[in-house]
Symmetry: C2
């Protein structure tokens, strides 16, 4: 598709999204929940078509790594899981309409602060086709129209899922243009999307570091930042060894490909022999690569030397970096310098050390005696999530339907004028 | 100053701001309140120096319009007003630390959502030197370090105010680098500021349309948008005439230079003779220019014809545009198309029309039977404000100290690991 044609099509998408958004913003919570339920039903009805489209994506994706092929792959069970996820989104409390605050001023004016949709959201993501359904449903649930741009690998699967979602919207009596996608996997479409400031209220990149860096650098539309998760677990000198072994193994290896997986371990100098040795042995025995500083390297011949680059790396694999620090202040300093402000944990039985860590670490989520793998909207009780925001503006931490909203002030008077 | 030198100085400012922010984020509400009180005291003590600096700014600013000269001018009374404003900011409730939400999950994890500072804020503004003091105090109150870039016209005044604020911080035992300013009024400093993504968490432009457009277009740092206020008052067919005359006169003419001043009037067709005629006569008699569509132009020979450009114009002067609409839906459509999503009012005794207008108008503040001039943080009860945000992300409407914050999740377990 040449660029003028694409630009025309993108402008048309934008106009349709705005029109759908205006209608959607006036619907009731019950209408939006029913629409998400209908979207789930339509997904189930279209399962054969969606799976066939996924087969064609898989057939084309021969050059992908096994783990990326696995992310792309849909099965009847996985698709049913996606539909169930939509049913759960439908059942969430309505994120809109609530009066958040309400007060009178002495001049008689009555103020209400209420929740309203953001408007039109752009979501740019990579190979997982299920994001098409999750993101579409979360946006409809929260009263927002959405323009999706999925990965080129999943173009056919996402297209088939989109057709089903739109059929569900129509069946529920809502405009099908509440959920749209860019017409081509061409990167030029992303470039255009990032300039649509009159249409898009926010753009959310969900994917790898290079995608997010590109969106952050190029976007003229406000971005809800989802950076990498270079998550740390700090084993303090007063850590309980049994808890620490259990938590570290879970934090690193439960799933290595999720953004809440621990990528770096910090050990207090006093517990190198007592704690670091058994914990690193657990990891090595489980097949994890350990890259450590000189103080830890001597503990086991299997440990590799770490380089400066390791401290800033999100592996998303069975690799962990490990370092000795001189105490809680040094741990905080290391994390705030090398981390990505996502999720960090301290393991300790010392309440003062825990309090200092929780206050001093500048991350969206800070845990005490728990696995960093809890960095997930579902585990927080938010239902499905778009991702984990590492920015400090608007939303920080897991972003669910309730965070895809803005506010508005309603002010009521009786011919009230301002003095002075 | 040449660019390499300036870049070095800006990087140094940034590093100092980050260090000050880390300390400031660990202070108590009492410490920050005491610091703002000390800043107010230091302003009063430095009054002769500040007024002398302002005299030199005024002597240079011979080419400015009378209204801009008036905005630049400081008098002993105005400076005392600024100091009083700081005392009021000191007395506001602490915006930080509060536990916003708190819950347990079935697995025993305990969650807290707390308020934390944003970090380092950049504020770019124009000729009013008092913004230096207000913005500095609001940032310190909310635990944020700030880098200020004032207008070149007020460079000497702002510099003298800054020196006083920093003396106040030192007297209160906080780092003086909590409040800094760029070293030169040179526009290149703004360009550098907008690229400091490693330092600045947010940049807030406060000023005219061209400044804000430039910041929005060039900034790589997230922007808290303060657009123009093209505010509307819609006089519905069921408006009470006495209230409407009183409110419109106040909304347009109480102060014409504030962002909440009404710039455009919409009248229902049914009340052109009964309401539009006396209301426009009031305005014309008070010296206001009226630019209206053909249906209204015939009401008074003093009325000028409006052009399409008038519907989108924020005059900030004694000029108003006026137009006939066919009802509440047409009014909403006109406002959402031509307005700036700032503040709009409906005047009516019909509760259903009011509800439709409040729900349908996509603006930060929507009023019923009250003057748009209430668009002000003080009138909302928020204390001093940085401005009115017209964006939908993070903060919408008046931005006070409580809005210069982010959140953080604290999660406490007991060796808790994630299943599955």
């Amino acid at each position: 598709m040449d660029l003028p044609d694409l630009a025309t099509q993108m402008a048309d998408l934008g106009a349709r999204a705005k029109a759908a958004s205006a209608l959607l913003s006036q619907t009731s919570g019950a209408q939006r929940a029913a629409a998400v339920t209908a979207m789930a039903a339509a997904l189930r009805a279209a399962a054969p078509v969606i799976l066939a489209a996924n087969d064609s994506d898989m057939a084309r994706a021969t050059e992908l790594s096994p783990s990326l092929r696995d992310r792309l792959k849909l099965t009847p069970e996985r698709l049913e899981g996606v539909a169930k996820g939509l049913d759960e989104i439908a059942a969430l409390p309505d994120p809109l309409g609530a009066v958040l605050e309400e007060w009178h001023q002495p001049n008689g004016l009555h103020f209400q602060k209420i929740r309203v949709p953001l408007g039109v959201i752009g979501i740019i993501y990579e190979s997982r086709p299920n994001v098409t359904a999750d993101a579409g449903a979360l946006c409809v649930k929260s009263g927002n129209a959405v323009i999706l741009r999925g990965g080129s690998d999943s173009f056919a699967s996402s297209g088939a899922i989109l057709t089903a979602l739109r059929a569900g919207l129509t069946a529920a009596g809502l405009p099908e243009d509440c959920v749209q996608a860019v017409p081509t996997p061409d990167r030029a479409a992303v470039g255009l999307l990032l300039t649509m400031t009159d249409t898009l209220d926010v753009v959310i990149p969900r994917g790898g570091k290079s995608l997010i860096a590109r969106v952050a650098a190029d976007s003229r539309v406000p971005v809800l930042k989802h950076l990498d998760g270079n998550c740390h677990t700090y084993i303090h000198s007063a850590a309980d060894l049994d808890k620490a072994r259990r938590v570290v193994l879970n934090a690193k290896l439960r799933r290595t490909g999720v953004c809440g997986a621990t990528e770096s371990l910090l050990f207090d100098a006093a517990i190198v022999q007592s704690h670091a040795a058994p914990i690193l042995k657990d990891l090595l025995d489980a097949g994890c690569v350990v890259r450590a500083d000189a103080a830890l390297e001597a503990l086991d011949p299997r440990i590799e030397p770490a380089t400066e680059a390791d401290w800033g790396t999100e592996y998303l694999e069975a690799i962990v970096s490990a370092k000795v620090v001189s105490g809680v202040d040094a741990a905080i300093e290391h994390i705030n310098r090398y981390g990505s402000h996502h999720t960090e944990a301290i393991l300790t039985e010392d309440a003062r050390a825990a309090a200092a860590f929780l206050a001093g670490v500048d991350s969206a989520i800070v845990l005490h005696n728990a696995s960093t793998q809890f960095a997930d909207g579902g585990e927080f009780g938010f239902g499905a999530e778009i991702g984990i925001s590492t920015g400090k503006l608007h939303a920080r931490g897991p972003v669910g339907a309730q965070h895809l909203t803005s506010i508005k002030y309603l002010v009521r008077g009786n011919g009230t004028v301002r003095a002075g």
